[in-house]
Assembly symmetry: C2
Homo-oligomer: 276 residues x 2
Amino acid sequence: MTGRPIGVFDSGVGGLTVLRALQERLPRERFVYLGDTARLPYGTKSADTVVRYALQAADALVHASVKALIVACNTASAVALPAMSARHAALPVIGVVEPGAEAAAAASRSGMIAVIGTEATVRGGAYQRAIAARLPQAQIRAAACQLFVALAEEGWTDGPIARATAQRYLEPLFRDEGLAGAAAVPDTLVLGCTHFPMLRAVIREVIGPTVRIVDSAATTALAVERSLHERGLLSSSAAAAGLRLLATDGVARFAAVGTRFLGRSIQPHEVELVDL
Amino acid sequence: MTGRPIGVFDSGVGGLTVLRALQERLPRERFVYLGDTARLPYGTKSADTVVRYALQAADALVHASVKALIVACNTASAVALPAMSARHAALPVIGVVEPGAEAAAAASRSGMIAVIGTEATVRGGAYQRAIAARLPQAQIRAAACQLFVALAEEGWTDGPIARATAQRYLEPLFRDEGLAGAAAVPDTLVLGCTHFPMLRAVIREVIGPTVRIVDSAATTALAVERSLHERGLLSSSAAAAGLRLLATDGVARFAAVGTRFLGRSIQPHEVELVDL
């Protein structure tokens, strides 16, 4: 069982930022990454549809004999995690929302936290609930930043367009409303979409140096390590390390765009096309 | 037969710009519009996947007893039209690429034409081939403008971000390369994506007042009228006029975003959810 791979699921290539953090923290593990590129993006779809697609993806990874299911997609984590956990109750099923919320609650001093994500993630309110469960007095502001996804995929992650987009989305979140008894502005920002770490530099420029940026990738990797350790599922040999990349469409585009997200070159022949 | 509806298919809401042109030109017709919102966007998907999805959508419209199939989606027109025509040989099947190419060839004086579209449309080369078939001496420059789609859906169709994005995509297309014997810059620009007419004003600002902008919607409506007239399929009574809106996901988002594209208010209860 310990020699089995860890399954990582995302709607596309964004989850490769989470895979990267997992590989850094768990270098002895084998991974199978599945990007549902034929049906991305999930972030603008209804909850029912996201649940249906996520369950199909989970089945495919379980069929590949994974020892754990990591849901790297924020939208699927926010919307489909209970259904996936129920269907695969024997496996650890770990999303990015809970670790991200935990990190945000720990990072914030003032209790005022901003969350940005896709439309579906923000509308579903999963981050807001997960943060409130840990920090009941938290004041949370949330905003959907749909254009960040397109900017990250296009590779336009710096320069005036990225900066102006970040200003337009973020300045209202960090505006001092001057409410008596309320913190002035958030001291913590949760990047609630796997694409957003690609824009970290311009986001930092806009929000200034003091706001803490919480990116779920690193905290999720820590949660995965903890869960596998508790269950005695950590790989005992570095010889097992490896990676399989699966996509439901467009291996060439997966390789080209994925290279930026994974931070190392992916060749099209490394990506296997699968049908869900 | 003349009383049957005209089927209009698109990957999402963008095709509502084509529906609007069809309704203006053919006010006595009934229309059934199907937006495959569960699986949009098609523009970043592989040709095989686009063909598969387009055939399923065509089947659904034929099942609704349409007398003609209009493919409002540029990507599906560019990639899947032959397969759709072959499967439904008894019906007129009309895409937006051929009418758009015809209008571009007629509009250009210099023979130098710029085409912008999604990644899949530009990569597939359908506009380039269709223009060259009509104007063999044409010089064609093409570019994918993926971010325009996100800007149109977000409603950010004017202001500094839209303008800077238009500059970044269009200035290289309209740069004088100073080649001997070649026209200096294109005199015609084809908007090869249904989302792009939403950005017409900033596009016009960037390319200047003299370049002709060809938008497939109006020319497609003309081609549809001609084809139905030739086959004796035009509706004979205004009493039949009407519209059914079908979507494969997210009726609330379809209504909200679609309102901007159709140019009149759509209420969520007007949109029927269908499964393909």
